[in-house]
């Protein structure tokens, strides 16, 4: 069948209409994307010097509490933690294996049990004689790297994408951690 001039007009007009419709749909869908404010919130920079040794700074990243920790380099020799069997992050490892040789690192401060915010116990307690994270809601216990050692949490704390740039820790851009959920 030979294409007539009217067929051409149909296709041309229909095609332009379709392109136009897509051109309209794209920005409409894009307006539903995160706003510029939450995009700037998606990158946080912390000066390494501002975190005290064996201390923790709390800030926020993408609206979630962010724990920045600096641990003494001999912490793994001084203390041993009995990590639970099922404690594996999305890379299939312990957080500790990935984070322990970094001067500072960031964890998402949300308990993987039911979403409470754990507390930092740098001096340990009568039960756990080592620095650890303790979730006050249902007694979840984590190592300083976020691996679960006790209580109900099913898996380690999430680790956001982060990298070290000069004397700053940049959270939100992949570096030594891409993202562990």
């Amino acid at each position: 069948m030979e294409a007539s001039r009217r067929d051409f007009i149909h296709v041309a007009l229909g095609g332009m209409g379709a392109v136009g419709a897509l051109g309209v749909l794209y920005p409409i869908l894009k307006t539903l994307a995160p706003s510029a404010a939450s995009v700037t919130e998606a990158k946080v920079e912390i000066a390494i010097d501002s975190v005290p040794e064996l201390g923790m700074r709390v800030t926020s990243w993408k609206g979630k509490p962010l724990f920045i920790l600096k641990l003494p380099s001999d912490i793994t020799q001084k203390y041993t933690y009995k990590v639970k069997k099922e404690s594996k992050n999305s890379a299939g490892k312990l957080n500790q294996e990935i984070l322990r040789d970094k001067p500072v690192f960031a964890l998402i401060g949300v308990c993987t049990h039911l979403g409470c915010i754990p507390l930092w116990k740098p001096k340990g307690s009568s039960d756990v004689k080592a620095p650890y994270l303790h979730c006050p809601c249902h007694g979840g216990l984590y190592t300083p790297w976020g691996d679960n050692i006790g209580g109900p949490p099913p898996r380690p704390l999430f680790v956001p994408p982060q990298k070290i740039e000069g004397n700053k820790l940049v959270v939100g851009e992949p570096g030594f951690v891409k993202e562990l959920v």
Binding site: R6, I9, H10, L13, M16, G17, G20, V24, P27, I28, K30, T31, A33, S35, A36, A37
Partner: protein
């Protein structure tokens, strides 16, 4: 697969009959000229306004403390493509009124307000009036200097009734009541903003939607007019008609593409007129901007109002023009239709067209005494157009009878 789905639907809803009836069996005169496309373009612009408006309303906050920031920061800077929809909505408002004006002049030129289309014209007039209200209410929402002071001036206009030569007390009370009722108080504040917002985003669009549907229904019921100004007989003169689809849809579709190209040229590259810099300064009730004039689509009325020395008569004059427009089907009772066949009407139409344009231009200029005199002269010409219609109609009835009732 698609065909099966369509058949399934058709068995239950008879959509195929509806399609055939509305798109193919609906016949349109072959000799429609270019200006007949403005109706479709107005419809397209209406859809554009609704879509862009729905997106803007998700981020706009109708309270004084946040209105300016939500319009100019959240929408323009934070939301992806928010600026695009603000641009589209602002340009769309101007294009909508421009197209409606062209559509109205077309209707006047071809006498599309005459029997059997009087109701089409009357409903169209109400659409125009609602559209002006929608534009005025929407203008306040960005809460910039021009928004604020433009609305201050608008809400003061009914107060010019206080200048009445007689019954001063009553007119003053009416004017003040309307003014206070518009603002929800003595000052332009949150109450007015909320009121304008509610009208602009809900009530007025709903009314417009209803009116536009009625308008379209009436056009279908009465049949579209044609440039030659006589009613085509559907049975004996079917060769003068063409099916709506594909002939008219394709033609108007192609023109719509050009229209959209022009529209988006402005949206992307030339917004400074539609979003003037002055309005990116937050509203300040203690400082009037140096130059303030209404938007171009009101300038003609503004010039009529301004050039007449008495505020009361200025107010009466521009409202009278609106009312005379509504009364066109009554004023023009001639049996002849279309300016093509009516030389006297054609001349007066040109007088009306050019006077409206000149009044609009004068509205942009400084109010010097000369300009005021010119304004009065062209106001007079506008009224002359309306007043000439019964006279022309009377003469044309004479000719019509003399020719034995043939046009």
């Amino acid at each position: 697969m698609l065909k099966k789905l369509l058949d399934w639907l058709d068995e239950r809803t008879h959509v195929k009959d509806l399609y055939r009836e509305q798109m193919i069996d609906y016949k349109v005169p072959k000799n429609l000229t270019f200006p007949y496309v403005f109706g479709v373009l107005a419809l397209i612009t209406f859809v554009i306004q609704i879509v862009s408006g729905v997106i803007l309303i998700m981020y706009y906050k109708p309270v004084m403390a946040h209105a300016f920031d939500s319009a100019n920061y959240t929408i323009m800077k934070e939301i992806s493509f928010g600026w695009l929809f603000r641009h589209i909505h602002a340009a769309g408002a101007n294009f909508f009124l421009a197209i409606v004006y062209l559509h109205m002049f077309t209707g006047i030129y071809y006498n599309a307000y005459k029997k059997p289309r009087e109701l089409v014209w009357i409903v169209g007039w109400v659409i125009y009036f609602t559209l002006l209200t929608t534009a005025l209410t929407g203008y306040l929402l960005p809460w910039g200097q021009l928004s604020y002071w433009g609305t201050v001036v608008t809400t003061e206009i009914p107060a010019s009734l206080a200048d009445a030569p007689i019954l001063k007390g009553i007119f003053t009370a009416i004017g003040e009541t309307i003014s206070i009722w518009m603002k929800g108080g003595y000052k332009l504040e949150d109450l007015a903003l909320g009121r304008f917002f509610g009208l602009h985003v809900l009530l007025l669009p709903l009314i417009l939607l209803g009116l536009v549907s009625i308008h379209l229904f009436l056009v279908r019921a009465a049949g579209i007019s044609n440039p030659e100004g006589y009613e085509i007989d559907k049975k004996s003169e079917s060769e003068k008609l063409a099916p709506f689809h594909p002939y008219i849809t394709l033609k108007e579709g192609a023109i719509a593409m050009w229209y959209l190209a022009l529209f988006f040229f402005f949206v992307f590259f030339n917004m400074s007129h539609f979003l003037p810099a002055d309005n990116f300064e937050p509203a300040d009730p203690l400082k009037t901007p140096p130059h303030i004039a209404p938007e171009w689509y009101l300038l003609g009325f503004y010039e009529v109002f301004r050039s007449i020395p008495s505020k009361f008569w200025g107010f009466v004059a521009f409202n009278l023009i609106l009312i005379l427009l509504l009364l066109l089907p009554v004023l023009d009772f001639s049996p002849l239709k279309s300016a093509r066949r009516r030389p006297l009407f054609f001349v007066m139409f040109l007088v009306f067209l050019f006077s409206s344009m000149i009044l609009t231009v004068l509205g942009t200029m400084a109010p010097t005494p000369t300009n005021a005199q010119l304004g009065m002269f062209f106001t007079f010409l506008v009224f002359l157009f309306f007043l000439s219609l019964p006279v022309i109609s009377f003469l044309e009835w004479g000719w019509y009878r003399a020719r034995g009732g043939k046009s």
